[in-house]
């Protein structure tokens, strides 16, 4: 594990709702995270878990119908929720960069790559066009693009998905941010490219010393690249800890169920094809149950789960669970 002790990001008890015609959507419910410098934290959850909402809340890029009910987001000691827009503009893209899921829609199809990456550099690094051009090439090299000059002169549609994503990463890196938030950066690319990009991110992290928040639905991706994991369900954190701890002994029933549901190739003809699925259906964010949000589907549920929302408790060094099964 390679992060120093300094805290970079602290989210405390964040609760966020969306107003919708159908009612109030409780997207985040009392979320807590701590991220240290140079730490790579993976946030894992399925749809409706709130992971993307969390990512966007960190840079306050949420839609107009989002309402923060409670909580605090401290980045480098400063409150994100209270900061004036001017300060935020300084943070977004510069101190915190984002890499989005679909590079096709993240890059402007009307402009060449050069225009886009140089613009970012001019804006945030205060360099002139020439210097920006040189820096751009450096960063494109850093993301292992074979012909940086050619890429700079191309339009996004002329590049493959994998190359576009590398360009996105280069742009995110170029401002030398403290934190990079990646929202499902490899979901839209093939397996072989995905693996390349994940290894690239790992390498870059060591070279450039940034922290990373990696949002994904895939536990496998997290295990490939992250130091620590936070598992989310229905807007709440259910388990956090080191990747190795969580993978070797997941404590929360949801984490366990999630891992059991992942298909793995069969090793013998006797092995059944059936997978262990999670009973019940995904949470309805419009009407969440009282108590632990996972209680309708939990195989170990008991009375307390239905009335009391479990707090986080330690189950090992750096390993915490929000579940009544474990002693506080």
């Amino acid at each position: 594990m390679s992060h120093d002790g300094t805290e970079l990001l602290r989210v405390t008890d964040l609760s966020l709702d969306y107003a919708s015609p159908q009612g109030i959507i409780h997207a985040l419910n009392g979320v807590n995270i701590t991220l240290n410098r140079s730490q790579l934290l993976g946030i894992v959850g399925e749809s409706g878990s709130g992971k993307s909402t969390l990512a966007y809340a960190l840079i306050r890029l949420l839609p107009r119908n989002a309402v923060v009910r409670s909580g605090e987001i401290l980045f480098d000691g400063k409150s994100i929720l209270d900061a004036p827009e001017k300060e935020l503009k300084d943070i977004r893209g510069k101190k915190i960069s984002m890499v989005f899921q679909d590079p096709m829609t993240s890059l402007n199809p009307l402009f060449k790559v050069r225009d886009q990456i140089v613009r970012v550099l001019e804006l945030h690094r205060q360099v002139d066009k020439k210097a920006a051009g040189r820096l751009a090439i450096d960063f494109l090299k850093a993301v292992e693009l074979p012909d940086p000059e050619q890429v700079l002169d191309s339009y996004p549609f002329q590049l493959s998905g994998g190359m576009q994503q590398r360009v996105m990463i280069a742009m995110a890196l170029s401002t030398q941010p403290d934190l990079i938030i990646a929202d499902e950066p490899t979901s839209a690319v093939d397996a072989t490219i995905q693996v390349q990009i994940l290894e690239l991110l790992s390498r870059l992290r060591h070279e450039h010393q940034f922290s990373m928040l990696f949002i994904t639905h895939s536990l496998e991706v997290v295990s490939a690249v992250c130091d620590s994991v936070a598992v989310m369900y229905a807007g709440s954190m259910v388990e956090t800890g080191n990747v190795s701890d969580i993978f070797s002994s997941p404590k929360h029933p949801y984490t366990q169920a999630l891992m059991a549901a992942i298909p793995r190739p069969r090793k013998s003809a006797e092995e059944a094809k059936r997978l262990k699925s999670i009973s019940g259906s995904p949470p309805d964010l419009l009407s969440l149950p009282p108590g632990c949000k996972f209680n309708p589907r939990c195989p170990y549920v008991f009375d307390r789960c239905r009335t009391e929302d479990p707090s986080f408790r330690k189950v090992g060094p750096g390993h915490e669970v929000a579940c009544h099964l474990y002693k506080e």
């Binding site: 107003a19 015609p21 119908n65 309402v67 209270d82």
Partner: protein, 318 residues
């Protein structure tokens, strides 16, 4: 039969789009305006103070002030009278009826032709597409004014020639839009799967393509209703449209042109009503357009956009 299903689904779609729209102020305003005008049009004989005069039967009130018979607004004639002495208000109300009749008929005709041509061209592609689109191009290049002149010259003036002149020039833009929709929808998985299951082209066109193509056309329909009213008024203004004694806003405005300095009411009132009518249609169209756009991938019934909330995620303490 299957067509009924298609119509039913389309109407259902209409209803689903329109219901949430009532939250929008613009829509409500437009709806009220158009609603009022339609009410007047439908109930003209009962709402007009002098229905007989409205319909054009000979007037006439003798007017003490002016020899020409044009009276300013008075208690007897709230909007005054026009040059033949008929009550202006009644004339206007019946004129609105004419305008709306023509505009609805024209737009209906244009939509029907446009959908038929456009959807067929877009769905089948190839030679059929090329042929139909060239025909469309020909009609697109006809300015309705010139065509109206020609038709009037051939058939003589009247209600029907306005109908033809406008109807034949208005459908191409509907066809273009319908074609663009069909081109996109035919590649959607549910259409592809239907084809693979052996569903006939006719069935696919009527039951899959048509209901899903309607949304952008709704916008065009509502805006064009207003545009046709204006076009028709314009034609009538030039004398190419309906003939007296049929009441018509354009004709009234034309007549008022000479007397604008002396008989201010003559031009003002028909003008106001014309504006309300067209503006109402435009507001309807705009508010529908804001709703029905590619954001709503899928049918109009999809969860609509979110109501604007008073507290966006701005800094908490400001």
């Amino acid at each position: 039969m299957k067509v009924q299903g298609a119509v039913g689904r389309t109407v259902g779609g209409f209803a689903r789009t329109l219901r949430p729209l009532f939250r929008e102020k613009m829509f409500v305003a437009g709806f009220i305006m158009v609603g009022a005008m339609v009410f007047i049009a439908v109930f003209a004989p009962w709402v007009s103070p002098y229905p007989a005069q409205g319909e054009g039967q000979t007037a006439v009130t003798t007017c003490p002030q002016s020899a020409a018979g044009i009276c300013p607004p008075s208690l007897a004639h709230l909007f005054g009278t026009e040059q033949t002495g008929r009550d202006l208000m009644s004339r206007i109300f019946f004129g609105i009826r004419t305008s709306i009749e023509i505009s609805v008929l024209v737009v209906l005709l244009a939509t029907a032709i446009g959908l038929a041509v456009g959807l067929t061209a877009g769905y089948f592609g190839g030679v059929i597409d090329e042929a139909l689109m060239r025909v469309t191009d020909v009609f697109l290049s006809f300015p309705h004014l010139i065509l109206a002149l020609v038709i009037v010259a051939v058939l003589g003036p009247g209600f029907t020639d306005v109908l033809y002149a406008l109807g034949f020039t208005w459908w191409p833009s509907f066809a273009r839009l319908a074609r663009a929709q069909a081109l996109e929808i035919r590649n959607r998985p549910y259409v592809v799967i239907a084809k693979a299951s052996g569903v006939s082209n006719r069935s696919i066109l009527l039951r899959h393509i048509l209901p899903n193509a309607i949304s952008p056309l709704l916008v065009m329909i509502s805006v064009d209703l207003g545009a046709v009213v204006l076009a028709e008024a314009g034609l009538s203004f030039l004398g190419l449209g309906v003939r007296p004694p049929t009441a018509d806003l354009g004709v009234i405005i034309a007549e008022s042109a000479n007397q604008i300095t002396t008989a201010w009411w003559y031009a003002l009132f028909p003008g106001i009503f014309l504006v309300i009518l067209v503006l109402g249609f435009n507001l309807l169209g705009d508010s529908i357009r804001d709703r029905v756009d590619p954001r709503l991938r899928g049918f109009i019934g999809a969860p609509m956009g979110l109501p604007s909330v008073k507290n966006p995620l701005a800094p908490r303490r400001k």
